[in-house]
C-alpha cells in the first residue's frame, strides 16, 4: 500500500467508553483507522492556543552517521536547523526499553528499576522482557506533566514499549498492525497514529518511537551486503518524519513546536562466527553453569547467581575470569558500576565490536545486528522545530545522553526535578528559555 506524504486532516469518530478508558477512532492516510485511548474524562478537544508543543521522536537504532542530506534529507534538515549534539550517546544497557525509560524519567536504571530489555526475574524464576507497567518504578514525563495541567501522548511502535509505559500518557496509541517476529508496527502506521494524535487531541507533549530502522538493522546480515535494506528503511523513516513536519506546518503548529530527535542506541553487526555463548563457556564448570542464569541482551549478557549465598563471591569471581578470557568479550562489569540496579543481576558482560552474545544456546540469537555493548553507544541527538525557543543552526560539544530528554523537555514547561533530582542534564543550551 502506497502512502502519500501529504497530510490529510483526520476525521474523528468517538466510540463508546469501555471500562475506565475511552477510545477515539481516527481515519488516517490511505483509509486506515487509528484508535487512540485516554483516561476516562480526558478532554478530546484541542487545548488553548499560545502554548508550546514538544515532541520527542526516537528513531530507534539509528546511527548518527546514517543521517545525511542524501539519504535522510528531512532528518538532516531538522538537525541543521536546530542544535545538534554530535557527542551524544546511549547509556547502559544500550537497549530499547531502558533507554526509552531513561528518556522519560531522567534517571538511571538503579532508580527506575529498568536496566535492560530482558532480565532474569528472580521472583518468577524466568528470563523475561521488562514490558510491564509495574516494572517501571519512577514517575515519567508522561505523567508528571499532567500534574502541571498539561496533556501528554505516547505513540510507540513496539509492543513492549507500549507495555511498560502503559497508560501513563493522557493519550496513547496501541501499536498495530504488529508485524510478525519483530513485534512492532511499521513506521508508516506509527506516523498515521502520531498525526492522528496531533490532529486530534493535540497533546502538549508526545513521545514517539519509530521502529523500522532498528528492525531492519537486526535483520541486516552483515551491514554491508544488505546495506541497501537498511538504507531503504532509513529513507522511508525519513519520509515519515517529513510527513510529521509537513503536518505541523500545514496545520499552523510548527511555529509553536519543539522537536527533539534522538535514538535509543545505535547498531553493530557481527559475523556468524563471532558469537559468544556464556552458557557454553561455563560448560566446563558445571557447578558454575548450573548456578548462573543468563539474560541475553544482544551485545550484553546479564548474569545472575542462583547458587548458595556462601558460594556467591567465589563463584562470580570464577565466572568473571572465564568470561573475560573470551576473545570476543570486551569487559565484565559489576552492575553498580554501570548504575544498573539489582534487577541487572550480578555481572554484566559486554562484547567487542563485531561480536554478539547468544545464550543460552549458540542458536538463540541468530540476528547479526545487535546493540547493548559500548560500540552501540553513539546516537543522533538534536533539538529543532519552528518554536522561537529553538536555538537555530548550532552545534554543541555537550555530552548529551538519552537520560537528558526528560529534564530538557521538563524545562520547557517549568517542571521541577523529581524527588532526588534528575540524573540527566537539561540541554537548555539548545533552547531560549
Amino acid at each position: 500500500m502506497s502512502r502519500s506524504p501529504q497530510q490529510r486532516t483526520p476525521a474523528v469518530n468517538r466510540r463508546s467508553t469501555p471500562g475506565r478508558r475511552q477510545f477515539l477512532k481516527f481515519a488516517a492516510a490511505g483509509g486506515a483507522a487509528v484508535v487512540l485511548s485516554s483516561a476516562q474524562g480526558a478532554a478530546w478537544a484541542a487545548p488553548a492556543a499560545g502554548r508550546t508543543r514538544s515532541y520527542v521522536l526516537v528513531v530507534d537504532g539509528c546511527r548518527p552517521d546514517e543521517i545525511t542530506s542524501a539519504l535522510t534529507p528531512r532528518l538532516a534538515g531538522l538537525r541543521a536547523a536546530g542544535t545538534n549534539f554530535p557527542a551524544a550517546r546511549s547509556l547502559p544497557v544500550m537497549e530499547t526499553i531502558p533507554n526509552h525509560v531513561m528518556m522519560m524519567t531522567g534517571v538511571r536504571p538503579d532508580r527506575s528499576g529498568v536496566p535492560a530489555n530482558a532480565i532474569f526475574d528472580r521472583a518468577g524464576g524466568v528470563v523475561r522482557d521488562l514490558d510491564r507497567p509495574t516494572d517501571l518504578h519512577f514517575p515519567t514525563l508522561l505523567d508528571r506533566l499532567q500534574g502541571r495541567g498539561l496533556t501528554t501522548g505516547s505513540v510507540l511502535s513496539k509492543k513492549y514499549l507500549y507495555g511498560i509505559f502503559g497508560t501513563r500518557a493522557s493519550y496513547r496509541w496501541e501499536p498495530q498492525p504488529l508485524l510478525p517476529v519483530t513485534g512492532h508496527a511499521p513506521d508508516a502506521a506509527t506516523m498515521d497514529a502520531l498525526l492522528a494524535m496531533v490532529g486530534g487531541p493535540d497533546p502538549d507533549f508526545v513521545f514517539t518511537n519509530l521502529g523500522d530502522i532498528d528492525r531492519v538493522g537486526h535483520s541486516d546480515l552483515t551491514g554491508t551486503t544488505l546495506r541497501a535494506a537498511r538504507e531503504a528503511a532509513l529513507a522511508d523513516t525519513d519520509v515519515q518524519v517529513g510527513r510529521f513536519i509537513d503536518h505541523l506546518k500545514g496545520t499552523g503548529k510548527w511555529d509553536s513546536s519543539v522537536v527533539m530527535v534522538l535514538a535509543d542506541h545505535s547498531m553493530d553487526w557481527s559475523l556468524p562466527s563471532n558469537v559468544i555463548s556464556i552458557d557454553l563457556i561455563l560448560q566446563s564448570r558445571p557447578e558454575l553453569q548450573s548456578n548462573v542464569k543468563i539474560a541475553q541482551n544482544g551485545g550484553a549478557d546479564l548474569l545472575y547467581w542462583t547458587g548458595a549465598e556462601a558460594d556467591r563471591a567465589s563463584g562470580l569471581a570464577a565466572v568473571e575470569q572465564l568470561v573475560a578470557a573470551h576473545e570476543g568479550v570486551l569487559a565484565v562489569n559489576r552492575p553498580a558500576d554501570l548504575r544498573l540496579g539489582a534487577e541487572a543481576g550480578d555481572l554484566v558482560a559486554y562484547c567487542r565490536a563485531g561480536w554478539r552474545f547468544s545464550d543460552p544456546y549458540v542458536a538463540s540469537n541468530p540476528i547479526p545486528g545487535n546493540h547493548g555493548h559500548p560500540a552501540t553507544e553513539p546516537i543522533p541527538f538534536f533539538i529543532s522545530g519552528g518554536s522561537p525557543l529553538v536555538v537555530p543552526g548550532s552545534v554543541s560539544s555537550e555530552p548529551a545522553r538519552t537520560v537528558d530528554a526528560a529534564p530538557t523537555i521538563g524545562d520547557i514547561y517549568g517542571l521541577t526535578a523529581p524527588d532526588g533530582g534528575y540524573d540527566g542534564t537539561s540541554r537548555s543550551s539548545a533552547l531560549r528559555l
Partner: protein
C-alpha cells in the same frame, strides 16, 4: 593550563656566557605578565634564577591567571628588557569553547632553508597555540643533510651534535632565527620531540644515526639531547620526567602529546620482518599506551586530538611504481620498497600490535572524534584510520582521522627524485592513494605549515605551502583543506570549510 602559562627566555649576562660554554655567572631574571601589551595591567611578576648549569635559559610557570585569556610577558635583566611575547591560557575545564585554532608544524631543518612558515604563522594573529610535532632541529653537520645538495645555512656547530654542548649550541642557533623568534613571541608552543632532537630513527636503546662507542654511549647522548631540550624549549618536561602529557581545552578538545622515542623498541629491519606484528614490541611503552587509551574515551572533551610524531595510518607500498620511484620513496621513508608491505617501519606500521590496540579500543568503545595530528614524514596527508584495512574498501569504516603537516624545510620526494615540484611525485602519490584507499590526500612535494580549526561541528586542517623554502622572504599560499565532521571519523575535502 587554564590558570597558568610557561614562559621561556635565554639570557647572556656576560660576553662569555655563550650557549654550550658552561661559562658565565648565576643571575636572577625578573619577569612580568600583563593583561595588555603596554604592561599597564601587570597581573603577575617574579624572579627566576639561572646560570651556566642550565645554559642560562629561563623557564617560569606563571600562575593565578584567568582561563581562556591572552597575556603579554617580558623579562628584565639589569637594564635590559626583552622583547614582549604574547601567550594565552587554556579555557577552564569543562567550559564551552566555540573555536580553537592551532598552527601545526614539524621538520624544520636549518640547513635546508628558511623558516618562512613560522613567519607566516606569526603574522596571522589568530592562533591559540602552535603545535610542534617534532624535528624542531636536526643533528647533522653541514653536508650531511640539507636542501637537496645545497647547504642553505650551515649548522653550528659544524658537525653532528652528539654531546650536551653540541645540542645546546644547535638549539641556540635555531633560536636566533627571526621567524622562529616571531612565532614564539606570537603564540604559546605545545611541543613534543621526534627523532632528530636526538638522532635519526632514535629508539630507547640507540638510533640509526648513532655509532655506539665512537659517538659515546647512547644513554649519555640521549640524556644530553633531552637535557638541552628541557633547557631550550618552552616545555614543562625536565630530565627524568615524562614528556607525554595531556592538555584540555574546555569541553571542546583534549590534546594528548605523545613521546614515541623514549620507550620504543628498535625498528624492524624492513616491512617483511615478522617482528612488526609482535605483541612483544612497542612504540609507546606500556604505561604511555594505558595513558593514551585512557585519554581516548567517550567522556570528557569532545575532540580527542593526539599530537603524534609519526604516522599511525597504515601505508602499503604500491606495486605500480618504477624502480626510481620506489627508490625515492624508500629514501624518503627510510623503509622497504617491496610492494604490499608497510613502507616505513619507523612509523606505527612497524609496531602493528600497538596500533591494533589503539584501533580496537576506538572501535570497541565507539570512541568518536579522535584525530591524530602528525609530522615527521615531510609531506601532507589526510587519512581515515580504517577499523579494518581489509574490509575498508567495502565498508569505509574508519575509527579516527589522521592529518599530517608537511615539513617546514626538510627534503621531500621531489627533492629526493631531483625533479621539479608536482611533476615526478604526482604519479607516486596517485599510486599510493590507489593502493591505500583510506589515504584521501597526499602531497609529497610541498613545504610549509598547517592551520587546524576546531569547532563542535568539525575539525578542519588547512595546508599552506611555501613558494620557495630556500628564499628568506618566501610567500605562502593555501594549498588545500580537509574536514573531519563531528561523529564521522572520516576526512573529506574541505569545500568551503566548517564555520
Amino acid at each position: 593550563m587554564p590558570d597558568g602559562v610557561l614562559l621561556w627566555t635565554r639570557v647572556t649576562p656576560t660576553p662569555e656566557s655563550l650557549p654550550g660554554s658552561g661559562a658565565g655567572p648565576d643571575v636572577s631574571v625578573r619577569w612580568e605578565v600583563s593583561a595588555d601589551p603596554a604592561f599597564t595591567k601587570v597581573v603577575a611578576r617574579g624572579t627566576a634564577a639561572t646560570g651556566p648549569g642550565r645554559d642560562h635559559t629561563v623557564k617560569v610557570i606563571a600562575t593565578r591567571l584567568a582561563p581562556g585569556a591572552s597575556y603579554w610577558y617580558r623579562f628584565i635583566l639589569g637594564q635590559e628588557i626583552s622583547p614582549v611575547g604574547r601567550t594565552r591560557t587554556a579555557p577552564a575545564a569543562g567550559a564551552p569553547v566555540d573555536r580553537l585554532k592551532f598552527g601545526v608544524v614539524s621538520c624544520a631543518n636549518w640547513q635546508a632553508g628558511y623558516f618562512s612558515s613560522y613567519r607566516h604563522l606569526a603574522a596571522r594573529g589568530d592562533l591559540d597555540a602552535v603545535l610542534h610535532l617534532g624535528d624542531y632541529l636536526y643533528e647533522y653537520g653541514p653536508g650531511e643533510y640539507q636542501a637537496r645538495d645545497v647547504v642553505v645555512r650551515p649548522h653550528d656547530p659544524a658537525h653532528e651534535m652528539t654531546q650536551l654542548a653540541h645540542y645546546r649550541r644547535r638549539h641556540a642557533q635555531y633560536k636566533t632565527d627571526a621567524d622562529l623568534q616571531a612565532l614564539h613571541a606570537a603564540a604559546p608552543f605545545i611541543v613534543t620531540w621526534d627523532d632528530h632532537e636526538s638522532a635519526n630513527d632514535a629508539w630507547k636503546g640507540g638510533a640509526e644515526n648513532h655509532t655506539e662507542g665512537a659517538e659515546g654511549a647512547w644513554s649519555g647522548r640521549f640524556a644530553a639531547a633531552h637535557q638541552a631540550y628541557a633547557e631550550w624549549m618552552p616545555v614543562r618536561y625536565e630530565p627524568g620526567g615524562q614528556m607525554y602529557r595531556r592538555l584540555d581545552f574546555g569541553s571542546l578538545a583534549s590534546l594528548s602529546m605523545l613521546d614515541l622515542r623514549s620507550y620504543r623498541d628498535q625498528q624492524a629491519a624492513n616491512g617483511t620482518d615478522p617482528s612488526i606484528s609482535s605483541t612483544a614490541r612497542t612504540i609507546t611503552g606500556a604505561a604511555q599506551m594505558d595513558w593514551l587509551l585512557g585519554n581516548l574515551k567517550s567522556t570528557g572533551p569532545q575532540w580527542k586530538l593526539v599530537g603524534n610524531p609519526v604516522m599511525i595510518a597504515p601505508v602499503r607500498v604500491p606495486s605500480t611504481l618504477s624502480t626510481a620511484e620506489l627508490a625515492g620513496v624508500q629514501k624518503l621513508m627510510g623503509g622497504t620498497s617491496i610492494s604490499g608491505v608497510p613502507y616505513n617501519v619507523d612509523q606505527w606500521d612497524g609496531y602493528e600490535a600497538d596500533r591494533n590496540r589503539v584501533v580496537r579500543h576506538l572501535r570497541d568503545n565507539a570512541v568518536k572524534d579522535a584525530v591524530f595530528l602528525t609530522g615527521d614524514i615531510h609531506s601532507g596527508w589526510a587519512c581515515d584510520i580504517p577499523a579494518d584495512p581489509a574490509s575498508y574498501p567495502a565498508t569505509g569504516d574508519s575509527v579516527a582521522a589522521e592529518l599530517v603537516c608537511t615539513s617546514v624545510t626538510s627534503d621531500n620526494l621531489d627533492d629526493i627524485l631531483n625533479v621539479p615540484p608536482r611533476t615526478g611525485s604526482v604519479a607516486v602519490e596517485n599510486a599510493i592513494k590507489a593502493a591505500n584507499p583510506h589515504v584521501k590526500y597526499l602531497d609529497f612535494d610541498s613545504h610549509g605549515y598547517s592551520v587546524l580549526d576546531v569547532t563542535a561541528a568539525g575539525v578542519r586542517m588547512d595546508w599552506y605551502v611555501l613558494a620557495e623554502r630556500t628564499s628568506a622572504s618566501s610567500g605562502s599560499a593555501l594549498s588545500t583543506s580537509f574536514n573531519v565532521q563531528a561523529g564521522t571519523g572520516k576526512v573529506t575535502p574541505g569545500q568551503g570549510g566548517l564555520q
